[in-house]
Symmetry: C2
Subunit: 345 residues, 2 copies
């Protein structure tokens, strides 16, 4: 049977203050539909697998996750140990109930414009996993020379919605390399979305990460052991642990308006802009300014003569930062922690 596995373990601070440790990015409504990103991921999962949708999340975020997507099966990690452990645990749990489980794995915090397009690509990938026991990733046709993502290298030009062998996983490139990748037509964004049989994933883990394989099988049978076993697990991504080493890794190239929301600067791609070139979520008055990103929950934001700024009011915090410094929200998090103001993180 098909199962959707949604990874929702983000640390939640890149979109501070809307996103917090206890209420990370995937649980907040960034799009104009008012839906949280995780809700969109669950819908995609349900399109593929009906009610067989499982979210893997940190225990500290479980209550907030249940609040946003009630009734969805949750696997709680005592704390994050990167994707190899999270996916391994999901595979080990699901295979106990359904030895023939085939998984569609995806992050909870992705943004997708063309949801049905992604469902179609995942359907092609699931069939590859079912019929050939491949590990079938979704490769996103790049729309810019992004240096923040890893890439999948193909032997030749990508053809959308077809199964193609992956030659190589490549790390985040520098800008010149990224530009070369994009113009070549042979490189796709690695979006962290893939399909595989649970048995195959566990078998790969047993080869490449045997301690993790043993631990997740044990925890799947005895969840009360999670707290004791998790600490010792290697914190490693499924890409590094398995994908880069495994045979029969294929990809389904897709062009579905997929994007990561890595910082506030990405919000216009999700929500669009108004006639003045400002992206506004919530009540705001922006006079004599353009290129601003404004998000506010329960206060009106008023700006005069300000351009290319990010202004976010959320709960007990206000962020003001130039758009080209949006990545430096991390400096705020560091300062809050250094000053013992962790209640705001």
């Amino acid at each position: 049977m098909r199962h959707a596995v949604i990874l929702a373990g983000g640390s939640g601070t890149r979109l501070w203050p809307a996103s917090r440790r206890a209420r990370p990015k995937q649980l907040i409504a960034l799009s104009s539909t008012g839906d949280a990103l995780v809700t969109t991921a669950v819908r995609i999962g349900a399109d593929l697998a009906g009610d067989r949708v499982t979210i893997v999340t940190a225990a500290s975020q479980a209550a907030a996750t249940r609040e946003v997507v009630p009734g969805i099966s949750l696997i709680e990690e005592p704390f994050g140990r990167n994707t190899a452990a999270a996916i391994g645990l999901a595979a080990a749990k699901l295979v106990l109930e359904d030895p023939d489980a085939v998984l569609a794995v995806m992050p909870a915090d992705q943004h997708v414009t063309n949801r049905s397009g992604l469902v179609h690509a995942l359907d092609v990938a699931l069939r590859a996993a079912e019929q050939t026991d491949a590990i079938a990733t979704i490769g996103i046709a790049p729309t810019r020379a992004e240096t923040g993502f890893g890439y999948l290298e193909l032997a030749g030009p990508a053809t959308l919605d077809t199964v193609m062998p992956v030659v190589r996983f490549v790390e985040k490139p520098d800008l010149a390399t990224a530009e070369r990748y994009v113009s070549s037509g042979r490189y796709l964004w690695n979006a962290g979305i893939f399909c595989a049989r649970a048995q195959r994933l566990l078998a790969e883990l047993e080869v490449h990460l045997p301690a993790t394989a043993a631990a997740v099988r044990e925890i799947a049978k005895h969840p009360e052991l999670a707290a004791a076993r998790y600490e010792a697990l290697a914190s490693i991504s499924i890409d590094h642990a398995v994908m880069e080493k495994a045979a029969r890794v294929v990809t389904v190239p897709a062009s579905v308006g997929w994007d990561d929301i890595g910082s506030w600067a990405a919000l216009p791609a999700v929500r669009g802009s108004d006639a003045s070139g400002n992206t506004i979520a919530g009540e705001a008055i922006v006079l004599e300014g353009t290129g601003n990103i404004v998000m506010t929950d329960d206060a009106i934001v008023a700006m005069v003569g300000v351009s290319d700024f990010v202004v976010v009011k959320s709960g007990d915090a206000v962020l003001v930062i130039p758009k080209d410094r949006a990545q430096d929200v991390r400096l705020v998090i560091a300062a809050l922690e250094a000053r013992g103001l962790t209640k705001f993180v």
Copy 2:
């Protein structure tokens, strides 16, 4: 007997959003002592006149004013009609109880660094009013070529804390004129602070503004007539109505750290700055930035790479504006009113 009359009728929007129509500038704590400006004014009044302190305010602000300075005698105007009407009404009321009342009149929203210095200057001015029936203003020795104030012209250089004749009241000058005024030593800021016998003020009003004089005397006896009579009163300042035309107008030059707080840009003069050159009231983290003015009530404000900005979080509103545009908060007020968002004003 001496009486202090504090004028608290400001429209309250220049320091939006901390200041609102219903809770104007004089009722909020701008200084680091946590005291509202009106509290400081009442202290000065009490230093001069004991418990004979009266605040004149708009009926719409009366409840908020009582909250801040409980127990102080209030005269409520149905709405603002500028200072001639407000002072006339106070004089008419006080003279009913005390025919020999001598008034020390001052605005509620002034900032004074050297309070006892101002009390001393006012004491000199009160004696001039008591002994010579003069109208005795306080003339503030200018510390900059301010174009936002009117000036008092003297015949010769000012001598602090002495009674000197005023040659002329002059309107807000342009910058070149203001610079000439300041370098001459013969011009003082008109701070709107003066002392006079109530009978003298009423006599001047009877000459120069007879309808107002008759109305305030009538309202003083029959407060229930205020709503009906106020609408027809001329909206004119005491300077234009009386000071510029009256004989025996003198001034007591004072250098007491007096200032108006005309916009957020003036806050550093009131509160000082920290080692990074930022003026911060409330909880804030300002990284890689200087010259900012930050005021927040119940949310932390975080800024990275921002300099010379005003950021204010107060109640249900957030303001972000470059410091050199601080006067343009009025554009926000206009936009809020144009969009029917008067609840935020």
